[in-house]
């Protein structure tokens, strides 16, 4: 609907301006048509005069598009102030079919009798047609350009000249509309005086042009922002040599050894941001091993070689990708608003892109997405699911056709709101999943799925219960060992008679605690014995040994206290008690060994 109204408006405007056509005259038009590349680049300097008696705010300018040619870029600048003027396409009554007309909004309305200078730059693609359409490997490429000798205009033109610039001086033929002159690689037409509106006279130039015709059929660029610190860029290309079609055989011998390469090309050059890293250059079947990367002062230059040389009409596809850090590309305001600024078009030099799609993948939770574009593009939104996404990432999709490489290279920016909390989504998700997993495992282990409770089950169950008792007894024995260790420490601290009381106090507490343990182990032992007499007797054995060890510890303490009371020297005490200490250690080791054999299985 919106587009329809636009169209209607445009045609209304067109009607209005055609009414005004008599009011405007082009005093002087100087036009340069450069055929020195795969494009047709036209530069016009136009002097517009208001010859009516009303103020004029709009001027109609037209370009001639022959055949399949498309207007890729169209820009009008006011010559004196260098202001870029707004341009909208317009249909003009009486214009020939091949004319592409635009209505230009002047920066300030042009009063009657005044003049204004405008500079028009237009880039036409597919305007050069290979002729002949097919080419052998040893031949050079000839192109045919069809345009209009005169500037197409709804206004009458007082004076005009046209200059055609060619890549070489080899010209097969050109339209001979006097006055015309050819020197080296230039053909000059005019000056022509007093040309009526929309006067047509075909301008045809047949010339040599061995420049590569690098047409990118489809170009998809995906920019993925991760607030963890990285921006991933991946660009997919499908490229074709749109020059004259290769015919006959392709001889590698002639190509490599005799340098007969016709209109083929193999090299591409991509200018990436200086901070680009983790570059790759691949296609469907793996890496393309012919590429080179170097760092320039302000950029990273990627010299790409295609898998094979592209002769006329040949195609290939490839993908390049790289990462850049957030710094320098993403800015954020305090309010949570972010601005991403990136290159909009392809980083390749001197290419024509028929269909360009730029996808900006923003992190989950980004809202209020707005794009600031240097030129009009179709906008739409999409959702993409990648690593650990739950609701999907919002994608801004920008689409444009007929993009020319240097002309459309510009920065664009995307504004969006993003709360920093959202970057925790993914780690929290992982934590949650693992937590749930562990909980599930714990729950599973606590559940029982037995259908029949037979003898086997009973035995297994009894064994399990036994194991828990054994574990408890073992823990109890370990606690006992810790307590005895404390007692031993207290024993060693008895150095003089004054310290005896502390040791005695320690002894009573230890005795109490051991008694306590003794009480606690009794029911456990009984429970074990009720399940297995064999294991019960083993445990009893261990407990006996433990008791023996206890008495050794106590004996050691009381002996030491006695000796200290007697006032024996410390080293003498150690010497006297050494055999008993050795025996104690041996008993301790033996107990540990027995514990290991008895309890090790549980």
């Amino acid at each position: 609907m919106v587009r329809l109204t636009h169209l209607l408006l445009a045609s209304l405007l067109a009607l209005a301006s055609s009414v005004l056509a008599d009011n405007i005259k082009l005093q002087q038009v100087d036009r340069k048509i450069s055929l020195n590349s795969q494009f047709v680049r036209i530069t016009e300097t136009v002097k517009v005069k208001n010859v009516g008696n009303q103020v004029v705010s709009e001027v109609i300018l037209c370009e001639s598009l022959g055949g399949d040619a498309v207007l890729s870029s169209y820009k009008v600048v006011e010559t004196s102030s260098k202001n870029v003027l707004t341009v909208s396409s317009a249909t003009v009554a009486g214009a020939p079919a091949e004319a592409a007309c635009h209505s230009v909004n002047l920066a300030k309305p042009l009063p009657a009798g005044e003049t204004v200078g405008l500079t028009v730059t237009a880039v036409l693609a597919k305007a050069q047609i290979p002729y002949p359409a097919e080419l052998g490997q040893h031949e050079t490429q000839l192109m045919l350009y069809n345009g209009n000798v005169y500037v197409l205009s709804p206004y009458s033109v007082s004076s005009q000249t046209t200059e055609v610039i060619l890549p070489t001086s080899t010209v097969k033929s050109y339209t001979d509309e006097k006055p015309v002159s050819k020197s080296d690689n230039k053909i000059k037409y005019g000056k022509y005086d007093l040309i009526k509106p929309f006067t047509e006279k075909r301008l045809s130039v047949h010339f040599e042009n061995n420049k590569p015709f690098k047409h990118i059929l489809t170009y998809v660029k995906e920019i993925e922002v991760s607030h963890w610190g990285n921006i991933y860029v991946e660009e997919k290309y499908e490229i074709k040599n749109a020059g004259a079609k290769h015919t006959g055989s392709f001889s590698r011998l002639k190509y490599a050894h005799m340098n007969l390469k016709a209109n083929s090309f193999r090299d591409l050059k991509a200018i990436l941001p200086r901070s680009a890293h983790s570059l790759y250059y691949v296609d469907l079947i793996g890496n393309i091993s012919t590429s080179n990367v170097r760092k320039a002062p302000t950029s990273t230059v990627m010299d790409l070689e295609l898998r094979y040389p592209l002769l006329g009409g040949w195609k290939v596809d490839f993908t390049i990708g790289y990462s850049v850090p957030l710094k320098g590309f993403l800015t954020s305001a305090k309010s949570g608003q972010r601005r991403l600024t990136m290159d909009l078009s392809s980083p390749l030099e001197d290419v024509f892109i028929e269909d360009m799609v730029v996808r900006v993948v923003l992190p989950e939770g980004a809202t209020n997405i707005k794009a600031n574009l240097p030129y009009d593009m179709e906008k739409s939104f999409d959702i993409k699911y990648t690593y650990l996404d739950t609701t999907g990432r919002p994608v801004l999709v920008l689409h444009k056709q007929n993009v020319a490489a240097p002309e459309h290279a510009a920065k664009f920016s995307v504004d969006y709101d993003f709360n920093t909390v959202h970057i925790l989504r993914e780690p929290l998700l992982l934590v949650g999943v693992f937590f749930a997993l562990f909980v599930a495992v714990i729950a599973y282990n606590r559940m029982e799925f037995t259908i029949t409770r037979d003898d086997k089950w009973e035995a297994a169950r009894s064994k399990e219960v036994l194991a828990t008792y054994m574990e408890q007894i073992q823990a109890l024995l370990e606690d006992e060992a810790t307590i005895l260790l404390g007692l031993a420490r207290a024993t060693n601290q008895v150095r003089e008679a004054s310290e005896v009381d502390t040791a005695q106090r320690e002894k009573t507490t230890v005795e109490k605690r051991l008694k306590d343990l003794e009480e606690k182990v009794k029911p456990l032992l009984a429970a074990v014995e009720s399940r297995s007499v064999r294991v019960g007797s083993q445990v009893r054995d261990v407990l006996d040994k433990a008791r023996l060890l206890q008495s050794r510890y106590f004996k050691q303490l009381s002996d030491r206290i006695d000796l200290v009371k007697k006032g024996v020297a410390l080293n003498e005490i150690s010497r006297k008690l050494a055999p008993a200490q050795d025996a104690l250690n041996a008993a301790k080791r033996e107990l540990e060994g027995t514990i290991m054999t008895v309890f090790g299985a549980y």
Partner: protein, 727 residues
């Protein structure tokens, strides 16, 4: 204290130890230390098994290797994109033009399913892993799994220690690595896992004698049957094992339960694989599998009846049964032979029994390098120290035989025999060698370290006694030290052997088994030259020929052309139709006019040859030409090998025969080559593979023209001209 009910037991004891102390106590326990150590070892073994296979990715890139993996990759793409049923019904018109191939019915789909499931799971977990990367890393992933299974197997056969040694040995055994490096997306990548799992579960089933364990083994067998044609090895080995157990008198009811269940469930499951289907019942290759089942039933019935019948009656019954069995068997065989259900023994069968069979009768089998008999050197290369450790393992198996070790022995002996016939079957022998070696190594280590530890304890015990008896203690100590040094020496030697094994494995993996063979790299650093000609040419085909163009090449490159070039081929690596391959061989061997007729008949648009004369790439089509002549001549007697031999020698030098120098293969390989100086100081047309100047330098083509030649001339593609206008 309230009286405790007997069922609820006594009040549980709660330790007073702090959390830190509890953790410390736990960690100082031998049992938990052992568990910790074991898990760490297993994790490292798993990582090692995975990582050692990544040389190819690090040195080259994440790319599918060689030939067959490209078909598997293409099938996996089809499976993922079209879904299960479409894949099952897939008729591939892009190969074997104009016959096509029923892929769904002629493929072992286990690998593709595995990769597709891994892909779907990763998608579900929102991990955006590309399908190609899934396929590339499937083999290393399964190698890790195989190592874990080897651990379980070792544990089942002997003990935990053996399991650990087996896992470690399995992780790096070169014979297995050769087929499972990253990018080697071939059936064997998952099949070895399936094979070892089936054997492990079978041994477990025999040990347990339960239906559940046998059913589990049957499912592992299904995975194996779905993955690789060598499933027949399992279904012959297991009956063989049962027979051996029977003969050796170790037959038990456990084996009966395991085998009967395995047979019933396993057969049903395996028959679900379309490529197998009823072959599982009718094929001769599975005769023993089915026969042993019947035999066991009869035996068990007789055993049952003997308890019910008297001796005389039982004798009559046995007599009757024998007669009936003989009659039914004879009649059945007659019926099957007459109805054509009983296929004669196939070539594959004879090839496996008679190493020279293929050489004599099936040139297409003999032409494949991996079907050649194994040399001794390759045993050392692929198994290294295992070759010597395995016999020791056999000794330990015989010393203390259990049901499990007897199975291992049977497995090992048969696997060793088959590995001697075909290089490729080294893969099957590798697990057997690993397990035997693990038993040997762990037994040696156990006994040595045990003896090292026990005298130390004995010493402390005897020390007070020793002080009293001075003289004996000296000799005793001497004895102990000599024993100690012997044991230390044994430990050292074992360590040395294992160390050299591991370094050998790493070296072999990095040097021999990690080349994708689709990209060739020569030189290092700044002198590194990458020959990426295959992909260059295939990608050219993909983008710059008509979508329905047919490409004729020798069958080796069929899979690659369809997968990477996305174009129809005449023959490919499936080699199911010998005549078709022979036709291509005949075209390559004929002169251009004759070949043109054949190519017109086959709708060929492009002819593709691999040529190494320029770059020195030695496995090119001229070197394979002898097989084209032999296979072509095997079906079409017009092609006579003698016409191509100059003094018994295939040569393309000036000594070469006219037939040779006028053959299509010669022309396509050497077109334009006669004008080039390839090496300094040599004349033009100097072939760098064959190291001489070619015989005929001025090659003219009448019916074809050069359409594309890759940068280093390795791949040359020619367009077949249309018929000339007659008016």
């Amino acid at each position: 204290m309230s009286p405790v009910k007997p069922s609820s037991g006594p009040e549980p004891y709660v330790s007073h130890a702090s959390l830190f102390e509890t953790a410390k106590r736990y960690l100082t326990k031998t049992k938990s230390q052992e568990l910790l150590l074991r898990s760490i070892i297993l994790i490292f073994v798993y990582l090692l098994a995975f990582c050692i296979r990544l040389f190819s990715v690090l040195r080259y890139e994440s790319v599918i290797h060689e030939f067959d993996p490209y078909f598997n990759y293409r099938s996996t793409i089809n499976l993922v994109q079209e879904g299960f049923y479409e894949f099952w019904n897939w008729f591939d018109a892009e190969s074997w033009h104009p016959l096509g191939r029923v892929v769904g019915g002629t493929v072992y789909p286990g690998l593709m399913f595995t990769a597709a499931i891994l892909y779907k799971v990763s998608q579900f977990l929102t991990a955006c892993i590309k399908l190609r990367d899934i396929c590339v890393f499937t083999a290393p992933f399964f190698a890790g799994n195989t190592a874990l299974i080897a651990y379980l197997f070792g544990k089942e056969l002997k003990d935990t220690e053996t399991g650990l040694v087996a896992a470690a040995l399995m992780a790096v055994v070169p014979g297995y690595i050769s087929r499972s490096v990253a990018g080697s997306f071939d059936n064997e990548a998952v099949a070895i896992f399936a094979l070892v799992t089936t054997f492990y579960l079978w041994v477990r089933a025999v040990n347990q004698g339960t239906i559940a364990s046998a059913v589990l083994a049957a499912f592992a067998y299904l995975y194996m049957a779905a993955s690789w044609g060598a499933y027949v090895f399992i279904s012959n080995l297991i009956p063989l094992y049962v027979i051996i157990m029977f003969v050796s008198g170790r037959y038990s009811r456990r084996i009966y339960v395991a085998y009967t269940t395995f047979w019933a469930v396993g057969s049903l499951l395996a028959m679900q694989v379309r490529f197998i289907g009823f072959n599982h019942v009718t094929s001769n290759e599975l005769l023993s599998f089915n026969g042993v089942f019947v035999g066991l039933q009869v035996w068990e019935a007789l055993v049952f009846l003997r308890t019910k019948l008297g001796t005389k009656q039982f004798g009559q019954l046995v007599y009757l049964t024998a007669v009936a069995a003989g009659a039914v068997g004879a009649a059945g065989t007659a019926i099957l032979v007459l109805s054509g259900k009983l296929n004669p023994w196939t070539g594959r069968f004879w090839t496996l029994l008679d190493p020279t069979y293929a050489k004599k009768f099936i040139p297409i089998v003999a032409s494949v390098s991996e079907h050649q008999p194994t040399t001794w050197a390759s045993y050392i290369f692929d198994l290294h120290v295992l070759v010597f450790a395995a016999p020791a393992g056999l000794y330990f198996c015989f010393k203390r035989p259990t049901d499990g070790t007897i199975f291992l022995t049977v497995f090992a002996l048969t696997a060793i025999y088959f590995s001697g016939i075909m290089v490729r079957l080294m893969l099957v022998a590798a697990p057997a060698f690993v397990l035997l070696s693990a038993i040997a190594v762990s037994s040696i280590l156990q006994s040595a370290s045990k003896e090292l530890r026990t005298p130390a304890a004995a010493e402390t015990k005897t020390s007070p006694v020793a002080t009293r008896r001075g003289r004996t203690s000296a000799s005793n100590e001497e004895n102990i030290t000599t024993k100690k040094s012997t044991n230390l020496m044994i430990l050292g030697l074992t360590f040395l052997a294992l160390w050299s094994y591991s370094s050998h494995s790493v070296w072999v993996t990095s040097e021999a088994y990690s080349s994708p063979s689709i990209v060739l790299i020569s030189g290092w650093g700044p002198h590194r030259v990458v020959l990426d000609d295959f992909r260059e040419a295939y990608y050219w085909l993909r983008h710059n020929t008509a979508p329905d163009a047919k490409v004729m090449s020798w069958w080796d490159y069929g899979y690659q052309i369809t997968a990477m070039g996305n174009r129809t081929v005449i023959v490919d690596n499936n080699t199911w139709n010998n005549t078709h391959i022979a036709t291509v061989g005949r075209a390559m061997a004929s002169n251009e006019t004759e070949a043109y007729k054949i190519m017109r008949q086959l709708d060929v648009d492009y002819a593709l040859v691999i040529f190494g004369g320029m770059s020195g790439y030695s496995s090119d089509d001229i070197n394979k030409f002898l097989w084209m002549v032999r296979i072509g001549g095997g079906v079409f007697p017009v092609i006579k090998e003698s016409d191509y031999l100059a003094n018994g020698d295939y040569t393309v030098s000036s000594r070469g025969t006219q037939t040779m120098l006028n053959s299509l293969m010669y022309k396509l390989s050497y077109y334009d080559f006669g004008n080039i100086m390839t090496e300094h100081g040599k004349g033009t047309g100097y072939d760098r593979v064959r190291n001489y100047e070619i015989g005929k330098k001025d090659v003219q083509l009448d019916h074809l023209y050069e359409a594309f030649t890759s940068e280093h001339w390795i791949v040359r593609i020619y367009r077949v001209k249309d018929l000339e206008n007659r008016f």
